[in-house]
C-alpha cells in the first residue's frame, strides 16, 4: 500500500509578543518588543497509508489543529517535512488542492443566505467538475446523507445537523482522495453524530479515501478509527491501535462489586477506589492488570459479594491518563 501521508519531524514554533501588565511595561514595549517562543508542534512524525481512517486526539492547545493545518497547506512549518499524495502541502499547488479537502466543524464555508444547492453549483465551477461527474457524485452523497430535502432551503434556516451534512457534502463534491476533518461532529446531538460517523465509514469503504480527523468526542474515535494518534504539548505521545492504547498506557482493570448488607466497606486495601456516577450501587476499584486474579480471589473470600464485574477502564480515562504523563 502506498503512503498517502508522510510526516517527518515536523515542527511549528510561534513567536508570541510577551508583555507584563502595568503602565511601565506598556511604555517599554512600545520601543522594544519581547517575544516568547511557543512550540505548538515539536518534531512530530508519522505515516498514513491510503484508505486509513486515523483519529487525532489531544486536549485543546495540544497542537492537533496546527498539525492538521500544516498538512492541508494553510500553515508553513518551522521545521521538518511533510508529503501528502506526493505534494508538499504548503506549496498550495492547484493539483493538490483539487485532490484534498478540509472541513472545519466550527467554520462555515456555505453562503448563509442562499440555498445550499447554489453553493454546491458554485463549488462545481470552482473545482471544474464536469456535469456528468457532478451529477454522479451528488447522487451518491444524497443517498448516504439524504441531502435532497435540504437543498432548496437557505442555509441559515437549516438546523446544525443539517448544515453539517451539507458542509461535509460540499467538501466532497470533487471526490478528494484525502479528507482532513477538524471536529466535524461538534455541537451535534447523538443521532447527528452517529449519522456523520456512519457516512464517513461508508464513504471510506466506497471510495478508499484517506481520512484524518480530530475530535473531542471519544465516540467519534472509537466508532471510526482503528488507529489513533495522540498529541499533547505539541509532541506525539501515542501512535497505534485503540486496544493497544489501553493496554499500554493504562494496564488497569476496573473491578466492580455489589456488596450485601450495609455499604460502609473500605476497599482501599484492595485497590484504588474509583467513583462511578452511573452505577452508585456498586463499588469500583482500579487494579493493575497483573494483580486482578490475586485481588479478586481475596475480595471473594473477604467480602459478602453479590455481584462482581471485571472490565477495561473507559477510553476517556485512558486518554486522560495519557495526557497527564
Amino acid at each position: 500500500m502506498s503512503l498517502t501521508i508522510k510526516v517527518e519531524k515536523i515542527s511549528k514554533t510561534y513567536q508570541v509578543p510577551e508583555r507584563e501588565g502595568g503602565f511601565g511595561a506598556a511604555f517599554r514595549s512600545f520601543f522594544k518588543r519581547k517575544y516568547k517562543d511557543v512550540k505548538a508542534v515539536q518534531e512530530v512524525s508519522f505515516e498514513i497509508a491510503q484508505g486509513e481512517i486515523v483519529g487525532f486526539l489531544g486536549p485543546n492547545g495540544a497542537g492537533k489543529t496546527t498539525t492538521l493545518k500544516m498538512l492541508s497547506g494553510l500553515l508553513h512549518p518551522t521545521g521538518g517535512t511533510a508529503k501528502v499524495l506526493g505534494f508538499t502541502p504548503w506549496e498550495l499547488k492547484q493539483e493538490y488542492l483539487r485532490s484534498m479537502t478540509l472541513v472545519m466543524g466550527q467554520r462555515n464555508r456555505l453562503s448563509w443566505d442562499i440555498p445550499a444547492a447554489d453553493s454546491f453549483l458554485l463549488n462545481q465551477a470552482i473545482y471544474r467538475i464536469p456535469d456528468e461527474q457532478y451529477k454522479q457524485t451528488y447522487k451518491e452523497l444524497d443517498e448516504l446523507l439524504e441531502l435532497e430535502p435540504l437543498m432548496k432551503k437557505p442555509v441559515r434556516n437549516l438546523s446544525l445537523g443539517e448544515r453539517m451534512k451539507c458542509e461535509i457534502a460540499v467538501g466532497l463534491l470533487h471526490r478528494p482522495k484525502v479528507l482532513f476533518l477538524d471536529e466535524p461532529t461538534i455541537g451535534l446531538d447523538i443521532t447527528g453524530q452517529a449519522r456523520i460517523r456512519e457516512f464517513l465509514r461508508e464513504y471510506n469503504k466506497r471510495t478508499g479515501a484517506t481520512i484524518l480527523l480530530t475530535s473531542h468526542y471519544m465516540a467519534d474515535v472509537t466508532a471510526l478509527c482503528e488507529r489513533i494518534i495522540i498529541i499533547h504539548h505539541g509532541q506525539l505521545k501515542y501512535d497505534g491501535g485503540i486496544n493497544d492504547l489501553s493496554r499500554r498506557i493504562a494496564p488497569f482493570k476496573l473491578i466492580g462489586v455489589l456488596l450485601a448488607g450495609s455499604n460502609s466497606h473500605d476497599l482501599s486495601q484492595y485497590g484504588t477506589p474509583v467513583q462511578n456516577e452511573e452505577d452508585a450501587a456498586k463499588h469500583y476499584i482500579q487494579v493493575k492488570a497483573e494483580d486482578v486474579t490475586k485481588v479478586t480471589s481475596r475480595m471473594l473470600s473477604d467480602l459478602p459479594i453479590h455481584d462482581i464485574t471485571i472490565a477495561d477502564p473507559p477510553i476517556e480515562d485512558v486518554i486522560e491518563r495519557a495526557f497527564n504523563e
Binding site: L74, Q94, L97, L102, R107, A125, Y127
Partner: protein
Amino acid sequence: MHTFKLLSAFFKVNVQMALAYRADTIVNILLNIMWLGWELLSLSIIFSNTTTLGGWGLGELIALLGVFRLVNTMMIALIWPNTEKFNQSIRDGSMDYTILQPVNSLFLVTFSRITVWRIWDLALAIILIVVGVNMTGDSTTPLQILTFILLAISGTVVIYSLWIVLISLTFWFTKFDNNVTILHALLDSGRYPVTVYPAWLRIIVTFVIPIAVATTIPLQALRGDLNIQQIATFFMVAVVSFIVASQVWKRGLKQYSGASS
C-alpha cells in the same frame, strides 16, 4: 474559459442573494436615484453662481460626474461588499477555505460578492457622459472613445490595486477593520476637476490616493486633450500598480500562513 464560467457562477450566486433580499434591492435602487438627484442639484447650484469651475463648464462637469459614476460603480459593486466579506473571513477564519480553493485567491476575494443591481448604474453613467459631452458641443472621434475606455479601465485598475494593498495590510495589522475608509473618504474628490483643489490637496488626490486622476484623466482623453505619451504613461502606471498590488497580496498571504522569510 474557466474564468468566464467561474465569473458567471459568482454572478448567479450574487443574483440569488439579491433576490433573497428583494425589498432591500429596491430600496437601494431608490436611494441611488436620490443621490443622483442630489449630485445634479448640487451641480446646478454651483453653476447658477458661475459659468466655469476649474476651467471646465457645466457640460464637462456633467460628463465628469458620469465618468466618476462609471469608475465609482465598478468599485462600489465590488469593493465594498468584498471588503466586508474579507474582513469577516479573517475574523471567523473562513479565509482558510479561500486559500485552499484551486482558484487564484485574489480572483476569489475580488469577485465573490457582486452588487448586481449596480449594473444599471453603468448605463446611467454612460448617459451622463453622452449628455455632458453633447452639452459642450465638442465632437468625439472613435479614437478618443477608445482611449477613453482604455484609460477609464486603467483608472479603475489603479484604484483597485490600491484597495488590494489596503486590505492586504490586514494580514500584518490584524485590528485594521477600517482598512478602506480612507479610500471611501477621498472618493468624493473625484467628482470635481483636479484644478479646483489647492496644490497640497491636488498632490494627495493625484499621487497618494489617485482618485481625481482616475476620473479627470479619462475625461481628458475623451476630449482629445492628451497626447500619446501621457496616455501611454497612465496606462503603464495602471499595469505597474497592479503588479505591485499582487506582490503585496502574495506576501500578505505568506504572512498569514506563517511563512515569514
